[in-house]
């Protein structure tokens, strides 16, 4: 196997479910997602307006992105309270003990540290990646999720309702739901803060100097540039009856925050510097909010109105550009924005078997058919292809072709000529990963010992048999595109002692390591 020689790290949460859980509050269900600002980010908001239109699931719940790439894959073993580091090239396996019930593993961008959130004992373990020196930091009780700021200096932990898992420790007798813990990954300092009531999301400015913790009534703006971070609360709604915050994005400068709120046909625009909140009217029933990859425009999809609204980030309150869907495009509620001034409009909330391409330059929207309704739509990083994961349910209008009726399926779609290859599956997909060069994708299915290698050029898939059912899949980024080598993919599998396979697309070889959890008990 030819592997790029750069030393980087990839991290994944090894054993928690790929599915995002729903948190039910006030009759509504929604998922929350956390991420740094990243173009074409997949948000994971799902909501159910009682009596209203069904929610969109613009989700990358199936997409597990490693924090970093190359040389190492870090796997958390919650049942053993260990984290295993596997060198992709040499298959060297090292396991270290961390806290109880490790739930999240993240890697600092300099690849020097792996940061582990231990759900079971409310702690963070910071692992020096090369020597595997482990330090532990106690954090506040009742936190459920963790994310690293860009730059990796700070880890932010908070109570994320969407990250609650079966088997989690019970809520302590005295528990808060709006505290966050900040942990400095180098000095191991711990800073607890109180933010707005029940935070729903955490966002960072690209330089990592500020974090925004979103609640329904307030945004907590945390200054991470200080040795001891401080926060300021910005009121964004009536605290007595705030609308539910469903989505938030920050502009690259960190000045503006854009919010989509439940049951409101507006986008809230918050000036984080002036602490001023304004609103921009959008079409009825806004269902998705994103920033363009260059960060210059905020895009709102209004499914009810059948239009998209484009705001200028530099002047958010200027009259927006409104682009109506063409007649016959049907119900579209979510958007994936590509690096080439194009967007893909689609819906996962209605059983519509279609998607549309949108040229942000000409504002032209063209609808295209799908074999079945979609539950997940993903665009390759180059923007040239789509991976559509279909619902098992067929289109209600009977348009689903016979071979795909009642079956799970995926479609590989070329966005150059809109050819599509729809593949019927024997089980539901539970995870996928796309290479950054847009050439390959990898898909795993529920309770199935299979890795499907997807070729986005030919739209052809190659099934590879695994030794046990797949759990998670990932692909290492290509740090040196000029060398012509394709980066390997990894797939973790069910095994009581740990199993992971590495696939080299250049050699079409699959190598498997089994029993790596035993390594934690080797005595020297």
């Amino acid at each position: 196997m030819t592997i790029s020689s750069s030393l980087l790290l990839a991290a994944l949460a090894g054993c928690s479910s790929a599915d995002s859980k729903d948190y039910e509050r006030g009759g509504a269900d929604y998922d929350t997602d956390v991420d740094a600002y990243e173009p074409d980010d997949g948000d994971t908001f799902t909501f159910d307006t009682a009596g209203g239109s069904p929610p969109e699931t613009e989700t990358d719940r199936l997409n597990l992105r490693p924090a970093q790439t190359e040389a190492y894959v870090f796997v958390a073993n919650p049942e053993r309270d260990t984290v295993t580091r596997i060198h992709v090239q040499t298959r060297d396996v090292r396991t270290v003990r961390v806290g109880h019930l490790p739930r999240v593993v993240a890697i600092t961008p300099d690849y020097r540290r792996a940061v582990v959130f231990n759900r079971g004992d409310d702690s963070v373990s910071v692992i020096e990646a090369e020597k595997l020196q482990v330090d532990h930091v106690a954090v506040r009780d009742n936190l459920t999720n963790m994310v690293l700021a860009p730059g990796g200096a700070w880890a932010v932990l908070w109570h994320d309702p969407g990250a609650i898992r079966k088997g989690d420790p019970p809520v302590p007798p005295a528990a808060s739901f709006h505290e966050v813990s900040l942990v400095h990954t180098e000095t191991l300092a711990h800073v607890p803060l109180v933010v707005g009531f029940i935070p729903t999301a955490v966002r960072f400015t690209p330089d990592g100097r500020r974090a925004v913790v979103a609640s329904d009534a307030q945004l907590a703006v945390v200054d991470l540039s200080l040795d001891v971070p401080t926060l300021e609360l910005v009121d964004i709604a009536d605290p007595l009856d705030p609308p539910l915050t469903e989505e938030i994005v920050l502009d690259p400068s960190g000045r503006w925050a854009f919010l989509r709120q439940r049951d409101r046909d507006v986008v809230a625009v918050v000036d984080l510097e002036q602490e001023i909140v304004g609103e921009v009217a959008v079409g009825a029933d806004p269902t998705d909010l994103d920033l363009t990859p260059d960060g210059t425009r905020a895009v709102v999809v209004s499914r009810g109105a059948g239009e998209v609204t484009v705001l200028d980030v530099a002047d958010p309150f200027a009259p927006p550009t409104v682009v109506p869907f063409p007649v016959g495009a049907g119900s579209l509620g979510a958007v994936l924005l590509g690096p080439d001034e194009t967007g893909i409009l689609y819906t996962t909330a209605t059983a519509a078997s279609r998607y549309a391409t949108w040229d942000l330059t000409t504002q032209e929207i063209i609808a295209h058919p799908l074999v079945k309704p979609a539950q997940v739509v993903a665009r390759t990083p180059t923007g040239d292809s789509l991976l559509v994961v279909h619902t098992r349910d067929d289109a209600p209008d009977g348009s689903t072709p016979v071979p795909y009726r009642g079956k799970d399926a995926i479609s590989l779609v070329s966005l150059k000529d809109f050819r599509a290859n729809t593949i019927a599956l024997q089980a539901e997909p539970i995870g996928y990963a796309n290479s950054r060069d847009g050439r390959r994708g990898y898909l795993v299915l529920e309770d199935t010992p299979l890795l499907a290698v997807l070729d986005y050029s030919s739209l052809i898939h190659t099934p590879l048999t695994l030794r046990s059912n797949a759990v998670f899949v990932g692909v290492l980024p290509d740090l040196d595109p000029s060398d012509g080598d394709q980066p390997p993919a990894w797939v973790s599998q069910e095994h009581s002692l740990g199993r992971i396979s590495f696939y080299d697309p250049d050699a079409s070889s699959l190598e498997t390591i089994t029993g790596f959890e035993l390594n934690s008990a080797i005595e020297e």
């Binding site: 298959r91 396996v93 002692l497 790596f516 959890e517 035993l518 080797i522 005595e523 020297e524």
Partner: protein, 504 residues
């Protein structure tokens, strides 16, 4: 008088004779199946006397070694021709007892102590006191190290407490002795050796594999590999082999289809899923691979030692035994199947030879030109088959040459002759040595003084132990007459068990 009575009893064909109020069974005088060969002599235990007889080719009589008041329990030969005796002695802890016989000491004051003794020409040249609870030794190839685990069937604690995780390691070079805790129920030991000798011992015990560093001044466990993380479900390792570079140990586990690949240099564990629980595995050094067969699967798996990937070769029927030839492996199903499969180790091509009788044992000729299969008291009697394994025009003969025997084969040896190979065949109850030549299949015979019980090599020839209650060993060099030594079992016939007195 007692001597006269004993002789009369023998003449009368009695198997038992009274001696001073006790009875001695004549089949306790010698133990032909316990005999081992050293560099230039054969050593045979004398159970009744508790001693050892040394029998050398060309000697006029046997020499009974002086071991003090110790009794021999068993003998083992090292790879370099030394012979070690496991002996025990009985002490009396009652200091008021002045008698020298075991009978003089109250029963509850008796205590057994164990020893390992290196046997010389007339007596032991080295003696180590070791607990009698240790099992058989495993020796390093250079004969320097002898390592023994606890024998689970030995009940005695010598009046003290025995650490059941202990391993006995004797440095036969320096004479030092070590007892090293390695794990419970240790039972298999393998040495990792290089040009300088044995560097470590890989020891299988329950649910773990320990690597003992033999190069340290105080040998001890350097690494312990767990086989499971579930203490409630212990695993019993069954077999272990080393890759040719000594870098990995391959361990099979009873009832498991996992092969544990232990990296001995950069400690880590990887599990390889096999097609089943292996019945046998053999390392092929020339091709840097390991072969595995399964009693209930008609296939052989080939494991490479680089990526530890498996390739599968389909067989017509399962195999449970592998013998390694110069460039092939011979797969057989001992006790059950009629197929012998010649597996080319480079191409993995198979050729099947059909036997006439399911073999109990298979032996390959040293040059790999043929194989011998033996059947002991099968439904169709005792048989021997010769199988030609030479490739001619790219193929082997698919049939064998079968021989009917008059008695169960008790010994088979091969020796080179100018035109090929000579097989020495001994049969139970048959007072004849048969010499079968290969490939001409000529037959020569030599009369033996009695029915054979065991056969082995010594010096340039062979030794044959016979079923004679008073002791009988023959020596045979091809082309020469059979020469025998007899009657050495009389030694100690009338001796009384003595108490052992520890030296100050």
């Amino acid at each position: 008088m007692r001597t006269t009575l004993a002789l009369l009893a023998l003449l009368a064909g009695c198997e038992q004779v009274e001696l001073g109020g006790t009875y001695a069974y004549l089949d306790e005088l010698v133990d032909p199946t316990g005999a081992v060969a050293g560099t230039d002599a054969v050593f045979m235990p004398l159970p009744r006397a508790g001693g050892v007889a040394r029998l050398a080719p060309g000697a006029e009589e046997a020499t009974v070694l002086d071991l003090g008041a110790r009794r021999v329990e068993r003998l083992q030969a090292t790879p370099t021709g030394d012979v070690l005796a496991r002996t025990v002695a009985t002490l009396c802890d009652d200091e008021t007892v002045t008698g020298t016989r075991i009978d003089d000491c109250p029963y509850d004051e008796l205590r057994r102590v164990g020893f390992v003794q290196r046997l010389g020409r007339e007596k032991a040249t080295d003696t180590w006191q070791v607990g009698p609870w240790y099992g058989d030794f495993t020796f390093s190839a250079d004969g320097r190290w002898a390592v023994a685990p606890i024998d689970p069937d030995v009940g005695t604690t010598g009046g003290g407490i025995v650490n059941l995780t202990s391993l006995l390691a004797l440095d036969l070079g320096s004479g030092r002795r070590f007892e090293i805790p390695v794990g419970f129920a240790a039972d298999r030991i393998l040495f990792v050796e290089d040009e300088a000798g044995a560097r470590s011992a890989v020891v299988l015990s329950r649910s773990a594999v320990a690597v003992v560093d033999l190069t340290a001044d105080l040998p001890g466990v350097r690494i312990t590999y767990p086989l499971t993380l579930d203490a409630g479900s212990p695993l019993s390792p069954r077999d272990v082999v080393l890759t040719p570079d000594g870098g990995h140990a391959l361990v099979t586990v009873a009832g498991s289809t996992d092969l544990y690949v232990l990296d001995l240099q950069d400690p880590s564990i990887n599990l390889v899923s096999l097609a089943g629980t292996p019945a046998d595995l053999v390392v092929d050094p020339a091709n840097d691979q390991t072969l595995l067969v399964y009693a209930n699967r008609s296939l052989v798996e080939v494991l490479d030692h680089q990526l530890f990937d498996l390739r599968e070769v389909t067989l017509a029927r399962p195999a449970n035994h592998i013998d390694l030839g110069p460039d092939y492996a011979l797969l057989s199903q001992l006790g059950a199947g009629l197929d012998l499969v010649r597996l080319d180790l480079a191409s993995l091509r198979t050729d099947t030879i059909r036997l006439n009788y399911p073999p109990d044992e298979v032996q390959l000729a040293p040059d790999g030109a043929f194989a011998v299969t033996l059947v002991r008291s099968g439904s169709q009697g005792d048989n021997l088959e010769l199988v030609d394994l030479v490739l001619r025009d790219g193929r082997v003969r698919t049939t064998s040459t079968a021989f009917r025997l008059d008695g169960a084969p008790v010994g088979l040896a091969m020796t080179e002759i100018p035109d090929g190979m000579s097989l020495l065949v001994l049969q139970q109850g048959v007072d004849t040595l048969f010499e079968l030549s290969w490939p001409l299949l000529g037959l020569a015979t030599a009369d033996l003084p009695g029915g054979p019980a065991a056969l082995g090599r010594v010096g340039d020839g062979f030794w044959i132990a016979h079923d004679d209650p008073l002791g009988l060993v023959s020596f045979y060099t091809p082309g020469e007459d059979v020469v025998s030594l007899a009657g050495f079992g009389r030694t100690g016939l009338f001796d009384v068990d003595q108490l052992f007195v520890e030296e100050e």
